[in-house]
């Protein structure tokens, strides 16, 4: 079904029948033609970054749980996480360790704590990025939680939740043609298909422009202090892309389209059925501090 990332069959196959019944109650792409079909939560907190730029672990963890509760329509974080993960799951937390802008370890640990709190055995949880193909937990994973910072990228326009699965393929460069249009295909590989239960796009200090061999300059990140959370990676990335584009236009004082265009986001929805990118089809829930939210 177009836009329905996690099918009932996929979820039942993972041995989580009771959880599946409730999970499928979450607004889903394609359920209604006149309603938003994917829910995305933008949560921000003014104090998540200290004056030194370091994350406040407690605030970050609170932001994560607040977003997950809103996403799943629960009042308690534990209940929300139980609708995403079951105790019998083997969980790979796919992170991103790019040296200039990595997923904060504090966020990785917060996700791991919540997964363990659901009842998943410690030996059935792993956090990894470049080692995922050979990581024994990822090799037998029934569930993946996908988290990375959003940044501009030389070949794909943006480094996105969708792109974060590229480490599952042996030759990432094979996907660089046509501005990485086929990235969504990776989500249909057996190692990934139907397994990604949650996407946490880190917008604490997103990068809106890249320069030089290392594609990074401190001038081109800013303290947005947010997370974008959702089960639909296309909707999550499309929401993040709108913020990056707004920041670029603001910073450069003119329209400065993301280049190359991050059309892999839209294509992931339209060609690979991973979700929806049209803002009209996305229910955006805003939580917390919203000054200069740009969206």
């Amino acid at each position: 079904m177009k836009g329905k990332r996690l099918s009932r069959r996929d979820f039942l196959a993972a041995g989580s029948g009771a959880a599946a019944a409730t999970l499928l109650g979450v607004p889903r792409p394609g359920e209604s033609s006149d309603q938003p079909s994917s829910r995305v939560v933008l949560v921000r907190h003014e104090n998540v970054l200290g004056e030194d730029g370091q994350e406040d672990s407690a605030v970050l963890h609170e932001m994560l749980n607040r977003a997950v509760k809103a996403l799943m329509g629960e009042t308690e974080a534990a209940a929300a996480w139980r609708r995403l993960i079951s105790p019998s799951d083997v969980v790979g937390i796919k992170t991103n360790v790019w040296k200039f802008l990595r997923t904060p370890p504090a966020l990785e640990n917060a996700i791991r704590e919540e997964v363990l709190a659901v009842g998943v055995r410690p030996e059935d949880v792993a956090i990894d990025d470049r080692g995922v193909p050979s990581n024994p937990v990822f090799q037998r994973a029934t569930a993946i939680i996908n988290t990375r910072p959003m940044r501009t990228h030389h070949w794909s326009g943006l480094g996105t939740s969708i792109k974060n699965m590229i480490m599952f393929v042996p030759r990432p460069a094979d996907y660089h043609g046509d501005a990485c249009a086929p990235l969504g295909a990776i989500w249909n590989l057996p190692e990934v298909k139907g397994k990604v239960r949650l996407n946490v796009l880190v917008m604490l200090t997103p990068q809106f422009h890249g320069v030089g061999p290392h594609s990074y300059s401190p001038k081109h990140v800013w303290p947005y202090r947010g997370l974008i959370v959702g089960t639909d990676p296309v909707a999550v990335d499309a929401t993040g892309a709108r913020i990056i584009q707004a920041k670029r236009d603001l910073f450069f004082g003119e329209e400065r389209p993301i280049s190359p265009p991050p059309h892999h986001i839209e294509i992931a929805g339209e060609r690979y059925g991973l979700g929806v990118s049209d803002p009209a089809q996305i229910e955006l829930v805003r939580l917390g501090w919203m000054e200069e939210a740009l969206i």
Partner: protein, 286 residues
């Protein structure tokens, strides 16, 4: 490959290349390494630097290495300089390309910034200075900004350019772009479809048959109240140029061919502008 093993490999390789003479004319990498000062403006080198080849570069530059490989990168000398207390590090990356034309091409890959007088052309943006000289492309990157680091970036750039003794020529094709309405800062020299798309997104299918065997120059024009681009391509032979011309016309692109050269107009504001741009392309009336 780890940087350290790459460095060891290059020590051997450098010797071999010196013996065989297989490499760009002029400075060899070890000569440039030796000539590059270990201390500049208060910034001190951590060591004499790591050397990366076309394989190990992927471990050093995550996601961007293909740009340099598309321009015939042979090796990269990377040296980190530590600043005085409270100052950020500065990273010097010197890429050895297979020709001066390709060094120029890499330099044109990002043309933002203020022109400064280093090497044969240089641009300074916040925290980053790039330059080209002979078959070398230089990148001087400050991991944080201050008045002192800006001075050091400039000093390191001059020192790096001085360490390279040879100069080279920009590609002849660049001079073939019509001057009328050309934005000089938009000019890019390139070979492959991927690099074209990163400069100006055209589409997924390589209908112009660009490859490492083709030379191309791209320029933006502002004329008659509109904007458009000329892509001038030189193919290895007329047959390839002819196929590309046919494909381009099939794709709805205005084009004009002269032997193995093909001029294309991309994203013109109006059909009239496309026609007018083609009139001057390839140096003559249509």
């Amino acid at each position: 490959m780890q940087a350290s093993s790459a460095a060891i490999g290059v020590l051997v390789c450098g010797g071999l290349m010196a013996c065989s003479g297989d490499g760009p004319a002029g400075d060899d990498l070890e000569g440039v390494r030796a000539a590059l000062p270990m201390e500049v403006a208060g910034w001190r080198a951590v060591d004499d630097g790591e050397v990366y080849d076309s394989e190990s570069i992927f471990a050093y530059i995550d996601g961007h290495a293909e740009v340099y490989l598309a321009y015939g990168m042979r090796r990269c000398l990377a040296r980190r300089y530590i600043g005085p207390q409270g100052e950020a590090d500065i990273v010097v990356d010197l890429f050895e390309l297979d020709s001066a034309a390709n060094a120029y091409g890499v330099f044109t890959h990002d043309r933002d910034g203020e022109a400064v007088d280093v090497g044969q052309g240089a641009l300074l943006r916040p925290g980053w200075l790039s330059f080209w000289k002979g078959p070398w492309f230089g990148s001087i990157y400050a991991e944080g900004e201050s008045e002192a680091s800006l001075i050091a970036v400039n000093a390191l750039a001059h020192a790096a350019a001085d360490a390279i003794s040879v100069e080279g020529e920009a590609p002849d094709l660049v001079g073939e772009l019509p001057a009328d309405g050309l934005d000089p800062r938009s000019v890019r020299f390139l070979h492959t479809w991927e690099i074209l798309n990163s400069a100006l997104f055209v589409g997924g299918e390589n209908i112009f048959s660009l490859s490492s065997e083709t030379d191309a120059v791209l320029g933006r024009y502002r004329r008659e109240g509109g904007e458009g681009w000329i892509l001038l391509v030189e193919y290895p032979d007329e047959a390839t140029a002819s196929v590309a011309e046919e494909n381009a016309r099939g794709g709805g692109y205005e084009s004009r061919r002269d032997g193995k050269r093909l001029a294309l107009v991309l994203k013109p504001a109006t059909p009239e502008l496309a026609d007018n741009l083609l009139v001057n392309a390839l140096g003559g009336a249509r």
